[in-house]
């Protein structure tokens, strides 16, 4: 493999990794807040992609401009998922974690069924976008603009998220609630409200990722599957609940996935990611940046 080809693989891996980080961070946020693994995360991504597609299809709105709308829509979906489903699952006195997995699994199937019912199972993709299929050619190194845009959005989002968590009252309430759910009630924080907002925020983040992804990826009711597996690995690798960890782990996963194809047969490239995860947690059982 030539140096140029290697550089290309690294650049593509980096861009994809930033996107993986953006897809995963919502999952990590929700987990950090309330110890719930959302099994419908990939399906939130799918809904977001359909929303971006639908807005483009019916109104011609460019997915770049649709991103805020999609993000807002997913915020509502996330909050409703908490208020309508997860809140009740948390009442379980024992094994609340498994009950939540079960309930969100039911939610995932429902969302997939609804998508197939409403949109038919056909493969859709957005025909035109400002960025669609444009590529920068840096002396033979090709950087597709949609992915570059995704990378930039991802980095900016992580910066904004950092500010949100450290500088605002909302962030502090989230932080306090995750530290001690009982104590926050004493200082007048409504736990349910914080959780609903947390779920909204988590879903909004994956909504943003979906709006970016829809520019260059196809949409169908099962599209979330492969991404959600990667998202779980990214979150666990970075350390459950760590936002910075999700960013670092996302990039690492993107790079390893791309590099693995130069050593392993491409059909086995995921083994590279999985082995990396195992190697890290066997040495460091709380992931890269997680708290125990």
């Amino acid at each position: 493999m030539t140096t140029q080809a290697l550089l290309q693989v690294l650049a593509s891996g980096l861009l994809m990794g930033l996107l993986y980080a953006l897809i995963a961070v919502g999952l990590s946020l929700i987990f950090g807040l309330m110890d719930v693994v959302n099994f419908a995360h990939g399906d939130f991504l799918m809904v977001a992609m359909y929303a971006a597609f639908g807005l483009w299809f019916f109104t011609g709105l460019d997915p770049l401009l649709a991103a805020p709308l999609v993000t807002g829509l997913l915020f509502v979906l996330g909050a409703l998922a908490y208020l309508g489903v997860v809140r009740f699952a948390m009442r379980a006195r024992s094994n609340a974690g498994m009950v939540q997995i079960f309930a969100t699994f039911g939610l995932a199937i429902t969302i997939q069924g609804l998508a197939q019912f409403l949109f038919t199972p056909d493969y859709r993709s957005i025909g035109q976008s400002w960025l669609g299929e444009r590529t920068i050619n840096l002396g033979g190194l090709f950087l597709p603009l949609p992915q570059v845009y995704g990378g930039v959005v991802s980095v900016l989002t992580f910066a904004a998220l950092y500010l949100l968590m450290s500088r605002t009252d909302f962030g502090k309430a989230l932080e306090a609630t995750r530290e001690d759910q009982g104590a926050v009630a004493l200082v007048g924080i409504d736990r349910n409200r914080v959780f609903a907002l947390g779920w909204g925020l988590g879903a909004a983040l994956v909504g943003l990722a979906g709006a970016v992804l829809a520019i260059f990826y196809y949409v169908h009711p099962q599209v979330g599957g492969p991404f959600s597996t990667i998202a779980y690995v990214v979150v666990a690798l970075g350390g459950f609940g760590s936002i910075f960890g999700a960013l670092v782990a996302g990039v690492i996963v993107g790079l390893i996935e791309a590099l693995a194809t130069t050593i392993l047969p491409p059909a086995l490239k995921s083994i590279g990611i999985y082995s990396l995860y195992l190697a890290v947690v066997f040495l460091r059982p709380r992931g890269l940046f997680g708290r125990l």
């Binding site: 493969y123 993709s125 025909g127 299929e133 090709f142 990667i230 490239k269």
Partner: protein, 414 residues
């Protein structure tokens, strides 16, 4: 695809769900169809459904077409009995395919089962049919392993993957004879039965006929990213790229090639995704000149007038043209209806006899085949595939020469 179609699709789904079950008619012949009605390939099943309904319409109503069972109403030898289609969802799971086949046979008393898209499901469902003495017709499952199991109730009117790959290499040989330089090929295939079978045959043929394999890339189906894989294709820069991919990966492949500035000189595809409309809706502008093998070609209408009419009926239902898969599906049901008529019975053993004695001349099909006659293994050996090329937004038959409408554009970008 346009906005209206999307809305119509949604409305159709609604009305479908709300419609009460059609009242049972006095004389009906139930036929079971097993397809992945949900899951990643559900669209294939939705199209298949429209194809079978098209074929049922041809059979059940009188149409002046030179096709089996078209001119009569229903099955004449059974007093004009109509075919009743019963669909079942196998979700791409061999176990579910088997149990659905069993349910259709024992509960719905179907006289035959047609399916199943996934070769893995066809494997189990056809064995179940064998055990119950009910014919299984592989309409669109093309793994060559299927007809090698010596099942006596298994029939496949269409070609299998080895025949398809052979046609592709025959075409390249013909190009070479004309003085075109083809030295290297690159295989790009998914890790399923379909992909690995296809690549294994192509590897063998390439070695026999002296083509160098510059890259052989097996990838995981439905990958989130194919960048590194495409990078390898680009480095190999073969004379012909030969993908065996379903729609999702085909879309991603074409987009990724564009992003990485890779323009293959020629693509000869193993159909699947490359004959699906969704791919051309998404990235058709980048696919000018792509060649795919096919069981079917829409421009065949020039030689076989029935094609245009059948396509019209299908279009009204599915909003797209017949393609490689859906044409095979239509034909499979017509073959079955023809056999039921000759068997004068829906009894499994008699129907098997009739199917085994099938002899339909190519002119009475919507396919480029020379005839339909099954070997002892249930495979139709006269199901000659064609190669079609996507030129100016239309499919043109380019090979074999007997069926060709135009000369190939080579290299693909002119």
């Amino acid at each position: 695809m346009n906005r209206r179609e999307l809305l119509l699709g949604g409305a159709a789904a609604l009305s479908l769900a709300a419609a009460p079950r059609a009242r049972a008619q006095a004389a009906e012949v139930p036929v079971g169809l097993i397809y992945p009605m949900s899951g990643a390939n559900a669209q294939i099943a939705a199209d298949a459904r429209a194809a079978y309904e098209t074929a049922a319409e041809v059979i059940n109503t009188a149409m002046d077409l030179d096709l089996p069972m078209a001119r009569s109403v229903g099955i004449p030898s059974l007093g004009g009995a109509r075919l009743k289609l019963i669909f079942a969802d196998h979700q791409a799971d061999p176990q579910k395919g088997r149990s659905e086949a069993e349910r259709l046979i024992t509960q719905d008393k179907v006289c035959a089962i047609v399916g199943a898209y996934h070769s893995s499901v066809a494997t189990t469902a056809s064995v179940t049919c064998e055990r119950y003495g009910v014919p299984f017709i592989a309409a669109d499952s093309s793994s060559p392993s299927l007809h090698r199991r010596k099942l006596s109730y298994f029939f496949r009117p269409a070609a299998h993957d080895e025949m398809f790959s052979e046609a592709m290499f025959d075409f390249m040989d013909a190009q070479r004879k004309k003085g075109v330089k083809i030295e290297t090929i690159a295989l790009f295939h998914e890790d399923t039965i379909f992909g690995t079978d296809s690549a294994a045959t192509q590897t063998k043929l390439a070695q026999e006929r002296g083509y160098r394999i510059a890259a052989d890339i097996k990838y995981r189906a439905n990958s989130p990213s194919l960048t590194a894989e495409v990078q390898q294709l680009k480095s190999a820069d073969a004379d012909v790229l030969m993908p065996s991919s379903y729609t999702t990966d085909a879309i991603l492949l074409v987009k990724t090639m564009a992003e990485l500035g890779y323009r293959p000189r020629n693509i000869i595809a193993q159909a699947a995704g490359f004959s699906e409309r969704a791919l051309y809706d998404a990235v058709g502008d980048r696919l000018g000149g792509v060649i795919t093998r096919s069981s079917f070609s829409i421009d065949l209408a020039a030689k076989r007038p029935a094609v245009a009419r059948v396509n019209e009926i299908y279009r009204a239902k599915a909003n797209r043209d017949l393609n490689d898969n859906t044409a095979r599906e239509v034909m499979a049901l017509l073959v079955l209806a023809d056999a039921i008529n000759r068997a004068k019975s829906t009894d499994g053993a008699k129907l098997r006899e009739a199917l085994a004695a099938t002899d339909i001349p190519g002119e009475q099909t919507i396919m480029p085949w020379s005839r339909i006659r099954f070997g002892a293994d249930g495979q139709n050996t006269s199901a000659d595939p064609v190669l079609v090329q996507y030129v100016g937004g239309k499919w043109v038959t380019i090979f074999p020469e007997a069926a060709a409408i135009a000369a190939p554009v080579w290299p693909m970008n002119g």
